[in-house]
Symmetry: C2
Subunit: 356 residues, 2 copies
């Protein structure tokens, strides 16, 4: 699998007018070679691929890596490029400009003054945006795990628990069900805090009459899930019920509208228009969704500004929301696989406002 991907990178070198590609983003390195460590670069030329990492991975790297030669760096990873003569004078070495610090680029220029380091277009992002069968299987498993975790959270939730207690349950069950890790720190936002779209869990206790926004996901074999649900403890206010209905309908309309070839901003508009017509447009303060895969935010952005085209075999989140400062908020988020005829919703948890 990874060998095919390295081959695809090699084929892209000429089109990008470079002699080699220096991959520096960890999940891209995993995508291309299988290496799961946290400190490496991968150097790909038409004839070879070399993974450079440090001594902590001396045993792990050869066991994981397929299709690339493993080099254990004696000093810095970049210094190996010149010391081992992997980079020859005059070479054009494409770099991942979005995933390389300005300091690292300066170091490369200093170590290899006779080479150039043009920014590549987001090559791995584009390759990995089209999921193959094995990737879709992993994403589906990550989503299944997150669905199962939500069922456990529904059993655990009760008045008097702190937001952190629910985050603890989420963290626990994700791992018990076999996730590599969480995709991000769970968002558990109750009562007025539900108006904060990205509130982390705190020591605040959950009370009867409050709604709780839960946004969480996991990573399974390198692939992410991401889900948001809203739970009410006791009967929620009429306004919360109303905005939940609006958000749910906005999400359903977006899901129904998804087609490959569609502009991302047109899809955003489907949900946004519904929320605007209901009078809550200015309270939908973020974009409709994002690509999902080896990154929790994969390349496809579904925002009002995005002219990207939806395409088959992409996985995206669809997550409209309404946030009323001081009162509370609602977001509903599903993971969706784009198919030839439309899409397949991967998330199975009920989307209704669950009243406990």
């Amino acid at each position: 699998m990874t060998r095919n991907r390295l081959q695809a990178v090699r084929r892209a070198l000429a089109a990008h007018h470079v002699d080699a590609f220096l991959v520096s983003e960890n999940s891209h390195i995993r995508y291309l070679t299988g290496f799961t460590g946290s400190n490496a670069v991968c150097f790909v030329t038409p004839r070879r691929a070399v993974l450079i990492t440090d001594g902590r991975y001396r045993s792990q790297a050869p066991a994981e890596v397929d299709g690339a030669t493993v080099v254990i760096a004696r000093q810095s990873l970049f210094a190996e490029l010149s010391e081992r003569h992997l980079v020859r004078p005059g070479m054009r070495v494409g770099v991942e400009e979005e995933h390389l610090s300005a300091a690292s680029l300066r170091t490369l220029r200093r170590l290899l003054p006779r080479c150039s380091f043009p920014a590549m277009s987001p090559l791995i992002e584009r390759m990995s945006a089209v999921k193959d069968a094995s990737e879709i299987r992993r994403i589906k498993r990550a989503v299944e795990i997150t669905d199962a975790v939500f069922a456990k959270v529904l059993i655990a939730i009760e008045p008097g628990l702190r937001e952190l207690d629910l985050a603890a349950e989420i963290s626990y069950w994700h791992r018990k069900y076999g996730a590599d890790s969480e995709a991000f720190d769970p968002i558990v936002a109750s009562g007025p805090r539900a108006a904060l779209p990205h509130a982390r869990a705190t020591t605040k206790k959950i009370r009867v009459g409050e709604v709780v926004v839960l946004d969480f996901g996991c990573r399974y074999q390198g692939y992410n899930s991401d889900m948001t649900r809203v739970v009410a403890l006791g009967r929620p206010s009429a306004e919360m019920q109303k905005i939940h209905g609006i958000v749910r309908e906005a999400q359903q309309r977006a899901i129904d509208a998804i087609r490959p070839g569609m502009e991302a901003r047109a899809l955003d508009a489907v949900a946004r228009t519904h929320i605007e017509k209901a009078g809550y447009g200015k309270f939908f303060v973020h974009s409709l969704g994002h690509g999902l895969g080896i990154h929790i935010h994969d390349s496809l952005r579904i925002s009002s500004l995005s002219s990207e085209l939806l395409h088959e075999h992409a996985v995206v989140t669809i997550e409209p929301g309404i946030y009323l400062p001081g009162k509370g908020g609602v977001r509903i988020e599903d993971d969706v696989l784009i198919t030839r005829g439309g899409c397949s919703v991967l998330t199975r948890s009920p989307r209704d406002l669950i009243v406990l």
Copy 2:
């Protein structure tokens, strides 16, 4: 507190020959302003400080930020710098070269062609390496939580559990005890996998006769803890007992040797020499430790190459290890506050090889 830090940044501007400083690293932004969100930049001039973030943080940012004006970006964060005329033509704007992508630097140059963006020395890293009383209190609490979590793990551990099950316990108890999040994905490496210094938890089951390396930590109010302990299920092999004794002695010698003003590599040498003399030098494949604070890897590196000087009010890890490929490994890691006369070990968990 954060106002004093912003003042210190202001005082540093002239020394760095810049008109302003653009802070782009999230934990540095939190350090300077209190903002805990994940998408922001902070722009500091001699007369003002502006935090620019996105619409998701419209309510959260003003509630958290002290000493800076909050701006909600309409498009990209950087575009606000020019559109709001925060940056004037000809300005020299220092950037965090280590924490700014090459792409972002190019964007800044395109948006603000008449300005320059010199790399600042690691200013916030250096400021935050000297901990004040409130920071030390938070680190101590993070370490206490991790100690308490280890006690829970010792109760939970038993043959037949998967490494992931222990990771689940660690994740759960960290949050139950009030941590914001984990500092990193827990390392749970059993049997031969203990020879991999950075092995993540897997579905491998833990068996009688194996040693298990547990490396974990949490973040509490933005400050990290980091600890490693070794547990044996049943009587460990004579070789594992032997290397545990060597590592423990190497760590103790390093702790006893710590003095402010000492070169970091001299401290590394204290532990490394002991391990080398015992015949295991080539199996100690990483550096002795690292600074700890708002980053899990703070600026001070305690390696054989580091000429940095240890200083009072730094917190560092001391974590020698020996890794025998195919057999197993040992690492013992404590968090240590450097004091005027030496150091104070913050981690309280027993350092012995715990046999269950």
